[in-house]
């Protein structure tokens, strides 16, 4: 664990965090709540810690927003109903995904999904990266196929066979490595920044496409 807070060294902080956490979950008695709110008003450090804990919750809720959309939920329901209607062979797997994946297979990391196209896209990216914050409407979007709904093809099963030697290899763009070998921990911060930027540009392109269409 790399967490900076050592509970044994800071029992007071632990108790304080426990109180703040219960406060965020509305799990304090009214009197406890009122007492804490009085402290928050006069103890900026306590208020700052509360803000940091609250930011975690907000981040988690943002992750939740990435959940399945209505259309997806409905498609899954139709598959489910076919099964419940008495067809025991009906596949519960996602009907609109090209290749159902074996259960339990870890999802391909977003980084891994885009890495194979990174080298080819590097030259074009240099242009994007040099652009000022405001985007030109006529700048084409980056390749989309590598960024979302990448078909889970046979190469994804390479992950089942990866060797320890390959896993130890930290050369992120080595061609002999399957993209599955890569994780964010093997990518430099510059490479991760490029991936983040690619995903943002892809998001903006999709948004604009939707807005214009």
């Amino acid at each position: 664990m790399s967490g900076p807070r050592e509970p044994t060294q800071d029992p007071r902080g632990e108790a304080q965090d426990a109180l703040l956490s219960a406060y965020l979950d509305d799990a304090l008695e009214p009197s406890e709540r009122a007492a804490l709110e009085r402290r928050l008003a006069r103890e900026p450090e306590l208020a700052a810690r509360l803000a940091r804990l609250r930011a975690v919750d907000e981040g988690l809720r943002a992750l939740a927003a990435e959940g399945p959309d209505e259309a997806r939920v409905e498609a899954l329901r139709e598959a489910l109903e076919a099964r419940l209607a008495g067809d025991p062979s009906a596949d519960l797997a996602a009907p609109d995904r090209a290749a159902p994946t074996p259960s339990g297979r870890p999802r391909r990391p977003a980084a891994a999904r885009v890495v194979p196209m990174l080298v080819a896209a590097a030259a074009a990216l240099a242009l994007y990266l040099a652009l000022p914050v405001g985007r030109e409407g006529d700048v084409g979007p980056p390749e989309r196929s590598g960024l979302e709904d990448a078909p889970v093809g046979s190469e994804s099963f390479a992950v089942q066979e990866r060797s320890d030697a390959a896993r130890a290899n930290d050369a992120p763009f080595a061609e002999e490595l399957s993209s599955e070998e890569l994780s964010s921990e093997q990518l430099s911060s510059e490479e991760m920044a490029i991936i983040d930027r690619l995903e943002v540009l892809e998001y903006l392109a999709a948004r604009d496409e939707g807005g214009q269409g």
Binding site: V73, L92, G104, V133
Partner: protein
């Protein structure tokens, strides 16, 4: 038995022959269940399959359903048990890859859903702002994935799904005091890790 839980009433209606009641329950709970299951198994497709399997179990329990707790509590218990079984199976299939239920996960990005939560911060935000948001989301996802499953589940159910500690205790088969502790340790741990990571990245230069 009378129940004030509208979901339990729907389930009783389903038990008594109203098939549409199950569809209503599905539409209400399918998406939150997928999100919750994805936090445990760290894979969207598996989470979707487990959500469907959960409703298969609900359907199978139709004739013997009795509302003893909130319907959602019962539903999440079924879902989590299926997910933990799935983790066990995955671990047996490929021990070095399995998303472990006890933390110390090596596959820190496995639950990354790819699509950034950018719409939440968009509103005409600059590319740089959106890149920052994407980076934060990635860090949080990795930090969340590294927590022990019980902490991960407890925090998610409290902070995102808004369940009371008592309900979560039933879902996780533990005590309310334990849930309070799990949630607090998870939340504090994430806050500390994100802070440390941000400091580390800051020092390394952006």
């Amino acid at each position: 038995m009378q129940t004030s839980d509208p979901d339990a009433r729907l389930m009783l209606a389903f038990r008594d022959g109203d098939d549409a009641a199950l569809s209503t329950l599905y539409r209400r709970w399918a998406a939150p269940l997928v999100r919750f299951l994805e936090r445990i198994v760290r894979d969207r497709t598996t989470a979707e399959e487990l959500m469907q399997e959960t409703f298969v179990r609900v359907h199978g329990a139709r004739d013997r359903y009795e509302p003893q707790a909130r319907f959602s509590t019962w539903l999440y218990r079924i879902a989590r048990n299926l997910a933990l079984n799935e983790l066990d199976r995955a671990r047996n299939r490929a021990p070095h890859l399995a998303a472990d239920a006890t933390g110390a996960g090596e596959d820190r990005e496995a639950g990354d859903t790819g699509r950034p939560s950018l719409a939440l911060v968009d509103g005409g935000a600059s590319v740089d702002t959106l890149v920052d948001a994407r980076r934060e989301s990635r860090r949080l996802q990795a930090a969340l994935d590294s927590l022990p499953e019980r902490q991960r589940s407890a925090l998610w159910l409290a902070a995102v799904e808004g369940h009371a500690y008592e309900e979560i205790a039933t879902m996780l088969d533990t005590t309310t005091a334990s849930v309070k502790s799990l949630v607090h340790r998870a939340r504090s741990g994430l806050a500390d890790r994100i802070e440390a990571e941000a400091a580390r990245v800051g020092e390394a230069g952006r």
